[in-house]
């Protein structure tokens, strides 16, 4: 089997890359170890409405409900609101991730890509150091798929980078370990997504309640793996649900475990190789959101791959246009929010309460981590600001060293 591109993983990153590469006439194969695209769902399913502008996914079947805004609760339950009233329409959706992923896959197939399910990549094909494709397991057989470009879109558990010599292992302080119930018969009164912070509630992370329509919501938790113990995420989530009066008569229709990288992105381009999505650690380290980056990054990767195929140039130099462009699109944001994440880790519950108190009446002009971070910065205690500065300096030094 010989393709121009083989993409490992049929998540949003893989499917969007496939679609734009195929649009540019590349011969694309996507392999996926699971039996069904998007299943099981491993996601909170919240996404910003800015994806409307990109026109990468159309129709409405994937939308479970609107998101009108967000409420962030500090440990003493002081509430900071980022609402639609203050911010116009710029909010979002809660989606059905299985349908969402399948729509993206359908678009890729329409553009000409081939998908192969039940097919797990188990290693790279190499000639010396040169990457020539992947080896895969399909049921009991093994197959060799040759390709000029291998794309690692294989999620948080990515091995493709590792096999190519890029160190993608995560430090436990750069991983949120998660659990989530989809609860029905829950008393949600509006379309706001709620976030709960606190060292007791969710160390190094938060609890979320994302309504998916009337009386149904995703209720989940993420805690830092460095602050985790075996089964602690699930236990803390169960504690939260037991104490919340809205959830008294609720019952789950789904339970999932999850993992979200909250790290600095890795190197994403080598000769004949691209990494994308969670595999490239393209996740906002504050919110844990990765979907928008998969769409933005996937479009860029697909376009660059199509160019490479036309030019028959698969070198790191040629493919680095992808890295330059994703850095422009969202690389700076991830870097900045990584520093903010580190800073937040040093703050105690008292500081969170104070901050929430200072921000509780602020009218935010847009619903974004950026506007929130800007406001927070104004109210941070001097010690925290100093801390940030020191961390920032250290980071710069390390970058310079490299």
């Amino acid at each position: 089997m010989k393709y121009d591109v083989v993409i490992i993983g049929s998540g949003p990153a893989g499917s969007v890359t496939a679609r734009f590469a195929a649009d540019g006439e590349a011969k694309v194969l996507v392999i996926e170890r699971r039996a069904e695209v998007g299943v099981p769902i491993l996601c909170g399913e919240g996404i910003s409405r800015k994806i409307d502008e990109w026109k990468i996914i159309e129709g409405k079947r994937w939308i479970a409900g609107r998101m009108d805004g967000a409420r962030i609760y500090s440990p003493d339950k002081t509430c900071v609101t980022l609402g639609a009233e203050q911010a116009g329409d710029e909010t979002g959706y809660v989606v059905y991730r299985d349908i969402f992923d399948q729509e993206l896959a359908r678009n890729a197939i329409k553009a000409g890509a081939t998908f192969m399910m039940n097919t797990q990549a188990i290693g790279l094909i190499k000639e010396g150091d040169k990457i020539k494709g992947v080896r895969a397991k399909r049921f009991d057989g093994e197959l060799k798929i040759e390709a000029d470009i291998v794309v690692g879109a294989d999620g948080v558990e990515s091995k493709i980078g590792q096999w190519a010599g890029i160190d993608t292992r995560l430090d436990p302080k750069d991983l949120e370990t998660c659990a989530q119930y989809t609860l029905t018969n829950i008393d949600v009164k509006d379309a706001y997504c709620d976030f709960y912070l606190g060292k007791e509630i969710a160390p190094g992370g938060y609890v979320w309640v994302f309504p998916k329509g009337k009386n149904i919501a995703n209720v989940g938790i993420g805690i830092l793996a460095s602050l985790s113990e075996a089964g602690r995420a699930k236990k803390l989530l169960d504690d939260f649900i037991a104490k919340d009066p809205r959830m008294k008569n609720s019952s789950p229709i789904r339970f999932l475990a999850g993992a979200v990288p909250v790290a600095n992105p890795v190197e994403t381009v080598r000769d004949n190789l691209i990494l994308i999505g969670d595999a490239a650690r393209h996740v906002d380290p504050i919110t844990g959101g990765g979907l928008t980056h998969c769409l933005e990054g996937g479009k860029i990767a697909g376009e660059v791959i199509a160019k490479a195929v036309k030019a028959k140039n698969f070198s790191q130099g040629f493919l680095s246009e992808y890295e330059t462009r994703w850095k422009e699109a969202f690389g700076q944001k991830i870097k900045r929010n990584y520093l903010v994440k580190e800073l937040m880790l040093d703050m105690d519950d008292k500081t969170f309460n104070k901050l929430a108190n200072a921000l509780k009446d602020v009218k935010f002009e847009e619903i974004s981590t950026h506007s929130l971070v800007k406001e927070v910065a104004k109210h941070l205690p001097i010690s925290a600001k100093l801390n940030a500065l020191i961390k920032y300096r250290k980071e710069i030094k390390e970058i310079k060293k490299k």
């Binding site: 170890r33 491993l42 091995k159 993608t168 995560l170 370990t177 805690i223 793996a225 075996a230």
Partner: protein, 62 residues
Amino acid sequence: MGKPKANVDKKKCLACGGCISVCPQDAISWIGNKAEVNPEKCISCAICIRTCPIGAISGEGY
């Protein structure tokens, strides 16, 4: 005697991939769409055990 190696209870594992991403030895892989530890590579550091959100990994004696 060395420390016991990590071991995934495949009946419990919900395949989130968290353990795979944090293992410093790259000792965990998907086998049949569940996480599985390669005992040859495992150095018994227990990072995966602490990471698993649902407690599906064990290794006595930690």
